[in-house]
Symmetry: C2
Subunit: 326 residues, 2 copies
């Protein structure tokens, strides 16, 4: 019997989840739910209904696990607790500072309903968090360094698009090779924001726009760019479409710690992703399997990736994993 998955929200992430479900034989997509008019939405999967998000409200939708593909700023804080009171849910909530309160809201709703809600799945938070915790548990007192990129930051790209005279923009976050090398050597360097990453921006300017002014506005934008070495390239709309239409990303968590009389150990986990939303969607889908199994066992409440035994993520049996993967 397949695990029935619903997707709420059909942006890049929702499409990534849809692609991931197609790779997992023990799962079936039973509905895509949208806040838009469902008749305007064309999805890739054949024979899967597109339904109004309102159809979820009475708890009767035919889904074992609902994967909520909304934004962390305003969607998820409201949606995840709401739907956790009706369904097992998964989200990719990524505002690190607000995870504790989001966790507690989802926990209360899910416990009351006897459902499981796994929050903050993806790669950071998500796979990177797992590696920070495994490493810190094995080598307590060590230092974790997280690097992002090379990859497209959608938040930074959006910030550039909001500048007057900008038609389109793509921003790449790039880790500084020298910093990576210093960390990998186990030297435990102190690194400033500027020393860890650079930012490279590709911008399509409107006809007649003041490019120098745009460049200045980008480079001095607080929080987003002012603390980084930033380069800006003006390109044509055709070049943007041809060279920058993908959403690659990646990065690494590098942990360095000491045992005994000064023996040093370096643990590195790194990702090189052609498609950020498809990889993130794939992570969400594997945790959906875990949510379903936990509910079947009578577990309820909010969980994070740190609370899930790895075997729950796999479609393979314990016997098969022990025989071939251990």
């Amino acid at each position: 019997m397949s695990i029935k998955i619903g997707i709420l929200g059909y942006g890049n992430l929702g499409k990534g989840v849809e692609a991931a479900i197609a790779k997992n034989n023990d799962m079936v997509l039973t509905g895509v739910f949208t806040r838009r008019d469902p008749s305007t939405l064309k999805i890739k999967s054949q024979g899967v209904p597109v339904l109004s998000a309102a159809e979820l409200d009475n708890g009767a939708a035919d889904v074992d696990v609902l994967i909520i593909c909304g934004g962390s700023a305003t969607d998820l804080p409201e949606m995840t607790p709401k739907y956790a009171s009706l369904y097992n849910v998964i989200d990719s909530f990524d505002t690190h500072a607000n995870i504790p309160s989001h966790f507690s809201n989802v926990d209360a709703a899910a416990k009351k309903a006897g459902k499981v809600g796994i929050i903050s799945c993806g790669w950071d938070p998500g796979m990177f968090s797992l590696n920070r915790v495994y490493s810190d548990s094995i080598l307590p007192g060590g230092t974790a360094y997280t690097f992002w990129g090379k990859g497209v930051s959608q938040g930074h790209s959006d910030a550039i698009r909001r500048i007057d005279g900008v038609v389109d923009a793509r921003q790449y976050t790039i880790p500084v090779e020298k910093a990576l090398d210093a960390v990998r050597s186990g030297k435990n360097p102190e690194l400033s924001t500027r020393e860890k990453h650079t930012r490279e921006c590709f911008v399509v300017a409107a006809d007649g726009a003041d490019k120098a002014a745009i460049e200045e506005k980008i480079k001095t934008m607080p929080n987003y760019f002012a603390d980084y070495d930033t380069t800006v390239h003006f390109i044509s709309a055709e070049e943007m479409k041809r060279d920058h239409s993908g959403l690659p990303h990646g990065g690494s968590v590098i942990y360095s710690g000491i045992t005994g009389e000064g023996n040093n150990h370096v643990i590195e986990y790194s990702l090189k992703l052609d498609s950020n939303p498809e990889f993130t969607g794939s992570v969400l889908v594997s945790f959906a399997r875990a949510a379903y199994r936990l509910e079947q066992e009578g577990v309820s409440g909010a969980k994070t990736v740190l609370d899930i035994a790895p075997a729950y993520l796999s479609a393979k049996s314990g016997e098969e994993l022990r025989a071939h993967y251990l």
Copy 2:
């Protein structure tokens, strides 16, 4: 209240466990147990009793978790089930082919006693297994490559030492850079044994020994060396002591898989370890914490690293992990 740890066996791994316990404030070493005459054993920790292994037999030793530091060939298949019927136990059983039967023996003993036995902890099996399973769960249908080294293989060093005329030997397993690059590029290459690793041997020969014959015996030794490009260096006993007395190791699990319309993703987990036994010992200690907690919750039976939620390994609370590590 501290978790009371006992160590059975005081070789390199037992010493690595001892060093790890000293880094974990929530644990205390309450005894080192040995099959040798305890009066002949001098341990590093102050004020910790060295006791005969026989003291464990009635189940009354003052330990919450016993970490069994024996060999996989003959010690652990007998010892882990035996002590799992008396204590929570941890081992680093690493004969991959025999893990299913070892698991089932430990499971039966531990369940009957209401204890927890976590087998095959370490880095391979162990952390590498975790990464194979996480990756395969996220990107099913992809390919996992495991590389070992650069590091000292104790089994291969021992095999050389058994050759007539060899006084001492150290063997390094070295991954082939070209193979690593091909795998990292996501090309999914088919790699033979010879293409993945080379073997470098440092040998102290007895006075007057036939070095050419020794070299020939090493290079043609079935299973150990015949399938590899092997180089042999003859060195003096002084050089051996000066340059090769450490036990560094490491390696990587590289997983590559596809999503959607051919988007490729590469996940790499790599370790660079100054001391193999101290790192392995540190992994065992973190899983000892999990075994203790699981027994407190009423869980019993055999487990592997795949069955343990990561948060159980950490001395930090769920709240602290969510606030600072997620």
